[in-house]
Symmetry: C2
Subunit: 253 residues, 2 copies
DNA sequence: CTTCTCTAGGTACAGCGTACGTAGAAGCTT
DNA sequence: AAGCTTCTACGTACGCTGTACCTAGAGAAG
């Protein structure tokens, strides 16, 4: 008795409704393209900001390798797997941390017009940030860094360097050089600090290597007295060189 | 009946001979201070070079995160834990990889005297090396790099920059800037290549961000036509700037 | 009110670095 | 030559990781 006139195609009963879409066909990989909240369902108990803050607190205290999904979830008072509702992969948690830390920049509202001074000030601000968050340089180097706060920084750099007359692309390259130098410096400071325990071992090894005769120029560099080893002065010395390079006329003409 | 006159102190049976030294009191942390072979015991089945080569082959094929102690040991046909006889920690395996890759540098026997040309040539050699081993920049950034081959490179750089008249310390700082720039560039190339899949997503996101009005300078930089985007040309452009910075007179005087 | 989507969370799995212990080979000492 | 010592090889096991998958239940949309 075909009285069941349900509209759902009674002619092909061998095709029950296929699961309409078990996975939404395309969730963007970029976390900045995923809305934090869609409006449906219960209100989330946490926010991206609070998650990033929890992760940053762990990284500041115990280093980046202590930041695990379990640790962050526990710090939030949530179950481990609940975190995956906010952050599809751990990589994205790192993206959130990177941008949340970048939010700490205190950028002046507008460039002063003195490119040298503005760049020096920006560099010191960045170095201070990296010293506050020793795990940050590694993230800056490894990840694109295009969150909203990173874009704010980029925009500021472009504004600061506008008086150079360089085209936008060249100023982006200059920013890469500028940021790269500061990252490297901060990273080096860290490995030096972490290796302070083996400093003696290393000094012994290096002097032995220098005295072996295999590295004459290294030996000579070790022998001659150099500029003082104060890290801040070393930073300023190289920073001057980098700013000099940025302000130099474009090589091509 | 105390007839058992064994020499092992029958009077204090509560103090059996304490294990003379369960751990040798001080094994150097630096792998370059540990002799590869002490002479005692059976001949090792592998060498540091072959271990590093196996690890590098894996990293070249599948990336640094595929290099695990188990994978490397399996590639050598050894048990996992046997590897720990050669390499006390995984960190040291990375040190071996770093130095083995550094051994690939083809350095000229002596500088030509033209600092600019020598530095440019060295930079291109380094970029080629980094492109051959995409995992290498990350190691160079993260680890001190003081193996014998790294020292050979350092010595060469010092020789090349000797005509500048800069003191040894300043030339070391110049080397850090030089290497740092090349590392950053190679690292950036990689993340760009790895993210080619999401390039479209990213371009969409960035243009949307630029058009939002929140980043006026970024929008302007996007709008204006820049120099060509060929990576090799971009490298050479910034390399020129870096060499310029190195050859500039010392800021302090 | 029904339905659908979203959230919270548990369980489980493969893989990681590596501490520890055992068995045996090879050089040094006697 | 014998024995002591030290090294190598390797299996087992532990705690940790990221995360796939599943079950409930909350709450907005129709």
């Amino acid at each position: 008795m075909p009285s069941s006139n349900s509209p759902s195609s009674p002619d092909q009963p061998e095709q029950p409704p296929p699961p309409p879409r078990p996975t939404p066909p395309e969730a963007p990989e970029l976390i900045w393209l995923r809305p934090e909240r869609t409006g449906r369902g219960p209100r989330p108990a946490h926010s991206r900001d609070s998650i990033a803050a929890a992760a940053i607190a762990i990284a500041d205290a115990e280093g980046l390798e202590a930041v695990s999904m379990r640790r962050v979830a526990a710090a939030l008072g949530a179950g481990t797997m609940s975190l995956y509702n906010y952050v599809p992969k751990k990589e994205h948690l790192l993206d959130l941390m990177l941008d949340a830390a970048t939010a700490e920049y205190r950028l002046p509202p507008a460039p002063s017009g003195d490119v040298r001074a503005d760049l020096a000030s920006l560099a010191h601000e960045q170095l201070a940030l990296f010293r506050r968050h020793p795990w940050l340089p590694a993230l800056v180097i490894a990840r694109p860094g295009i969150g909203p706060n990173a874009l704010r920084y980029t925009d500021h750099f472009l504004a600061v360097t506008a008086p150079t007359g360089l085209p936008g692309g060249a100023r982006m390259e200059a920013m890469a050089l500028f940021n790269g130098f500061i990252c490297q410096f901060a990273q080096y400071e860290q490995t030096a600090a972490a290796g302070a325990k083996w400093q003696a071992e290393m000094v012994g090894y290096l002097t032995q290597a220098a005295m072996s005769g295999a590295y004459p120029n290294l030996a000579q560099a070790f022998a001659a007295p150099g500029p003082p080893a104060d890290p801040d002065q070393a930073f300023d010395r190289t920073l001057d060189r980098v700013i000099h390079a940025i302000l130099a006329p474009t090589p091509g003409g």
